[in-house]
């Protein structure tokens, strides 16, 4: 008697669950895909890899499998695709200036190399989207062919020379610099901090010097760099590359300086780091509003096991 009423309850519950499931399909917010307006221009082999591994989320041509179309999974798929397109959309990337397109591709390759993309949650259900080491090599060769060497550029040299002359004669009078949109004030003293690393970037033709404040330098000396202590600040200054007649790459015009300041509590919403950046010799704060830090945290996320820091610091400043 009792087992029969239990069975009845089970049947009702199953029927109710089925009804809810069917109802969910009706409120299914359909993934809207606008037309392909400016697709990436790239060799067929490069496109094949990107189509297989990236286009499902990062384009207006999602290749959805049957289980991607069923609610509630489909809701997750739709919100993931919308977010992915905001970061990078291969169906509209052609609208961006060439340099920005290249930067986006370099970032994509790096997210693949750092194993951050395609998302683990995606490749679990779509294993064919994984990028093989051979395919990653194809993407790298496309972006940076082995023989590429930068040539001297007279116009850039003139810009750099003018900027240097203005700067050297300006004296020590500090510029009035607006704070970053998230409230972080400019730190003009970075230039007097110790150098902890230098890099040259062939992806965006810049030279970089990474400075560390006293807390950072002490942390390096004590090997306490994961996590970095509160109070650590890094400054990364970037200049355009200036190739001279002897083929040497010199520091050219100042491009930007960006900072990471560690305060696990104060900056908890941005992984414990306060991000800020100023561009141009006139030091214009970067970002339309405080949400500019989404760019920073997005790019630094793959380094979560390294306290979100890309730099390999050199020791021995003390």
């Amino acid at each position: 008697m009792e087992s029969r009423s239990n069975a009845r309850i089970l049947v009702w519950l199953a029927a109710a669950a089925l009804a809810v499931f069917v109802a969910l399909q009706l409120v299914n917010p359909r993934l809207y895909s606008p037309p392909v307006t400016a697709e990436l221009q790239a060799p067929a082999e490069v496109k094949r890899i990107l189509k297989t591994s990236c286009f499902s989320c990062h384009s207006n041509e999602p290749q959805l499998l049957w289980f991607d179309r069923i609610a509630p999974a489909s809701w997750l798929v739709a919100s993931d695709v919308y977010e992915a397109r905001r970061h990078l959309n291969f169906s509209e990337i052609g609208k961006l200036p060439a340099a920005q397109q290249k930067a986006a591709l370099y970032e994509a390759v790096n997210m693949i190399q750092l194993d951050a993309m395609p998302l683990k949650s995606y490749t679990l259900m779509h294993p064919q989207a994984r990028v093989s080491p051979e395919d990653l090599a194809v993407l790298k060769d496309y972006l940076h062919p082995a023989e590429s060497v930068t040539a001297p550029d007279e116009a850039m040299k003139a810009t750099a020379d003018a900027q240097y002359t203005a700067w050297i004669h300006a004296g020590a009078a500090p510029l009035t610099v607006q704070p970053a949109p998230n409230g972080i004030a400019y730190m003009p003293d970075y230039k007097n901090w110790k150098v902890i690393a230098t890099t040259n970037r062939f992806d965006n033709k810049t030279l970089r010097v990474i400075f560390g404040n006293d807390v950072a330098v002490k942390a390096i000396a004590e090997h306490h760099t994961n996590p970095w202590p509160d109070g650590t600040t890094f400054a990364k200054a970037a200049w355009f590359q200036q190739v001279d007649d002897s083929g040497e790459t010199k520091i050219g015009a100042f491009f930007q300086v960006e900072f990471m300041t560690k305060d696990a509590r104060k900056y908890a919403s941005t992984e414990g780091w306060g991000f800020s950046r100023w561009r141009g010799a006139d030091l214009k704060p970067y970002g339309k509003n405080a949400a500019f830090t989404n760019e920073c945290t997005g790019c630094h996320a793959p380094l979560r096991h390294n306290d979100y820091v890309y730099t390999f610091p050199i020791a021995g400043q003390q």
């Binding site: 890099t199 010097v209 994961n226």
Partner: protein, 162 residues
């Protein structure tokens, strides 16, 4: 039944694997050990401030020019040379390697050479040059190329640091 069990197994294993991927495992420090300056040097340039930095793509090297306080203050406010007396500048040259964290970046590998140019306090005395090479860094005997190197180091202008 068998397929059901198999599916359940796959789901459980995947869940464990994906959770493991999110764990905060401690990672060894990323100090660039191979770029450390080893060997006895008259000054530690890394303790000084930067004047500028450069790269030689053909030689796959990168160099940073440092200066003591007198030299840096002068280089950041004057186009003209020579440096005032008491100035010491140092050029550290590293071989390069690909940045394991970023395709598109090159970082320092082993230190190849450290060069010093010091400006004496007495007028009319030419600046002194010292060159250290190898691992560990060791003093290289003076040779006829030194004059050119002094000119090269001294002629480098400061990076714009607003």
């Amino acid at each position: 039944m068998k397929t059901y069990r198999k599916a359940l197994f796959v789901v459980c294993v995947s869940a464990i694997v994906s959770l493991a991927g999110c764990s905060n495992k401690p990672v060894a420090s990323t100090i660039n050990e191979q770029a450390t300056l080893t060997g006895p040097l008259p000054y530690n340039p890394l303790a000084w401030r930067v004047i500028t930095s450069s790269v030689n793509e053909h030689k796959a090297t990168m160099s940073t020019l440092y200066g003591n306080d007198v030299a840096v203050a002068y280089a950041r406010a004057n186009e003209g040379r020579p440096y005032p007396s008491g100035s010491v500048i140092a050029l550290v040259t590293w071989s390069q390697r690909d940045d394991p964290h970023w395709f598109g970046a090159r970082i320092a590998a082993n230190a190849q050479a450290v060069e010093f140019v010091s400006f004496p306090s007495a007028a009319g005395v030419s600046p002194a040059y010292e060159r250290y090479e190898g691992a560990p860094l060791a003093r290289v005997a003076a040779n006829e190329g030194d004059v050119k190197r002094i000119d090269y180091l001294v002629s480098q202008r400061a990076a714009v640091t607003p």
